[in-house]
C-alpha cells in the first residue's frame, strides 16, 4: 500500500460512505474541507503555515502536476484576487465560495488518484435496489475507503488527540478539519468528546499555530445543521423502535427500509427470496442468505437485514419484500 499525503488522508475520512454520484449537502461540506486540507498541505510543504501571508503564482500551480488535488485547488484560488497574496485565514475562507461545479472537479482530483492507489473504491448503495429508485432509473453508489488505511489514520489520530503529550502540526490541522466538517462525532464517543474539547482548549492556550487555525471557520451553519439533522434522523431510525416505525412509515428514512418488488403476485417464500437475490446480484452487492423461511435473514455487504413480505399501495397494490436492518 502506497503512503498517502496529509490531504489525501483527510479525504479518505471525509469521502468514506458519501454518495459518489450526487453532490449531497454532506459531501459539499466534506469537499470544501478537502480543498482547505489541500491549501494547508501546500502551506506545510512550503514551510509557511505561520507566515504573515504567502503568494501563489502561475508557476507554483504548473509545478504541482504530481499533486493533482493541490494543483486543482490552487488553480481555483489563482482565479480569485483574494486568493493570490493573502494570509492563511482569508485564503482558507475562499473555499466557502466554491460552486458545485468546482467542488465536483476538486472531488475528482482527490478521488481518481486515490482509486488508482487502491485506497478508495465506489460500491453500490443498497438504496439503489429500492423499487422507487429502480423504476426512476436512479443509480446510487457510494465511496468506501480502504479499511486498513482508514483504521490506521483514525486510530493514529485518536491516540494522539486522546493521549497526553504534544500534538503534531498535522494532527492539530486534522482536528480543525474534522471540527469544520462536523465529523468529530464519527470518530469520538460522547465521553471522548469531552477530552477532545479539553485538548482543544489546552492547544488554544499553549500553541500559537493552533490558536491561529482554531479561530478560523469555513463552514456554512445551515449546511452543518442539515447534515447533523440527517445524521440524527438516521441514528434514530437505526434503533429497535425506530426500525419498527420506519417499517410502517418508510418515507421517514428510506435508506433504512428498502422495498424490493416481487415479479408476480402471491409468490411463495422461495420465489420471493429469488427475486430479492436477483435484484441484489443485479446491483453488484455481496450477500449471503443466513436463514430461509417466510422472513429470511440476509447478510448484505456485511450488514444483516431481515426481508419481510409486504405490499405497497400504488395505483395497484405492489407486493414485495422490505429489507430492514436486523437488530443485534
Amino acid at each position: 500500500m502506497r503512503e498517502w499525503t496529509f490531504a489525501q488522508g483527510f479525504a479518505l475520512l471525509a469521502l468514506n460512505a458519501q454518495d459518489s454520484l450526487h453532490m449531497t449537502t454532506a459531501k459539499k461540506i466534506a469537499v470544501r474541507c478537502m480543498a482547505a486540507a489541500a491549501i494547508l498541505e501546500w502551506e506545510l510543504d512550503q514551510g509557511n503555515l505561520q507566515g504573515p501571508f504567502s503568494t501563489i503564482s502561475e508557476e507554483d500551480v504548473e509545478n504541482l502536476a504530481a499533486v493533482p488535488h493541490q494543483q486543482e485547488v490552487l488553480r481555483e484560488l489563482l482565479k480569485r484576487k483574494e486568493g493570490l497574496q493573502t494570509a492563511l485565514p482569508e485564503r482558507l475562507k475562499q473555499v466557502i465560495h466554491f460552486s458545485n461545479r468546482i467542488l465536483k472537479r476538486i472531488e475528482s482530483s482527490f478521488a481518481d488518484p486515490l482509486k488508482g492507489m487502491d485506497l478508495l473504491e465506489e460500491i453500490p448503495n443498497l438504496l439503489g435496489c429500492d423499487m422507487n429508485y429502480v423504476t426512476a432509473s436512479v443509480t446510487m453508489r457510494e465511496y468506501r475507503s480502504n479499511e486498513e488505511a482508514y483504521t490506521r489514520i483514525t486510530e493514529g489520530l485518536r491516540a494522539e488527540i486522546l493521549e497526553d503529550g504534544e500534538m503534531t502540526d498535522e494532527t492539530i490541522l486534522m482536528l480543525w478539519l474534522l471540527r469544520e466538517s462536523s465529523c468529530l462525532y464519527d470518530f469520538f464517543s460522547k465521553e471522548e468528546l469531552k477530552r477532545v474539547a479539553q485538548r482543544m482548549t489546552q492547544l488554544y492556550q499553549t500553541n500559537a499555530m493552533a490558536r491561529a487555525i482554531l479561530a478560523i471557520d469555513i463552514h456554512r451553519a445551515p449546511e452543518i445543521a442539515v447534515k447533523n439533522f440527517l445524521r440524527g434522523k438516521k441514528e434514530a431510525f437505526s434503533t429497535p423502535i425506530g426500525t419498527g416505525v420506519d417499517f410502517v412509515f418508510p418515507f421517514l428514512e428510506r435508506s433504512q427500509s428498502i422495498f424490493i418488488e416481487t415479479e408476480a403476485w402471491f409468490e411463495n417464500k422461495e420465489q420471493r427470496l429469488q427475486d430479492v437475490e436477483a435484484r441484489l446480484a443485479q446491483y453488484g452487492h455481496h450477500y449471503t442468505v443466513l436463514r430461509q423461511g417466510a422472513v429470511p435473514l440476509i447478510r448484505i455487504d456485511n450488514v444483516l437485514y431481515e426481508a419481510v413480505p409486504t405490499a405497497v399501495q400504488m395505483k395497484v397494490p405492489v407486493q414485495g419484500m422490505r429489507l430492514r436492518k436486523y437488530p443485534l
Binding site: 490506521r152 498535522e170 494532527t171
Partner: protein, 83 residues
C-alpha cells in the same frame, strides 16, 4: 511546532509514540491502551507526566504474538500468563 514523522521514519526508529504504533500496526487505540495498562506491552516513561514511548521492534512483535494467541482462542488472562 513539530511535524508528523513519515511511515518510513517510523519504521526505522527505535522508539515510537502510541499514535505512531497505531499507525504502524493498524491496531485500535483502545486496544493498545488496554494492553499497555495490563502490562502486556513494553513501554518506557522516563519521568512522570512525560508521554509513554514504546520500543518499536519489541512492541510490534509482542502485538503479533498477542494476535496469534488470540486467534488460537486464548483469553486475555491466559495470554497474560503466557507472555
Amino acid at each position: 511546532m513539530s511535524r508528523q514523522r513519515s511511515m518510513e521514519k517510523i519504521q526505522t526508529s527505535t522508539y515510537v509514540s502510541i499514535g505512531e504504533l497505531a499507525r504502524l500496526t493498524g491496531c485500535r487505540y483502545s486496544t493498545l491502551k488496554f494492553y499497555t495498562e495490563e502490562g502486556m506491552l513494553p513501554f518506557e516513561q522516563p519521568e512522570e507526566n512525560l508521554t509513554r514511548r514504546f520500543p518499536r521492534e519489541k512492541a510490534v512483535s509482542r502485538l503479533k504474538e498477542i494476535q496469534r494467541l488470540k486467534a488460537q482462542g486464548l483469553s486475555i488472562p491466559e495470554i497474560k500468563a503466557l507472555l
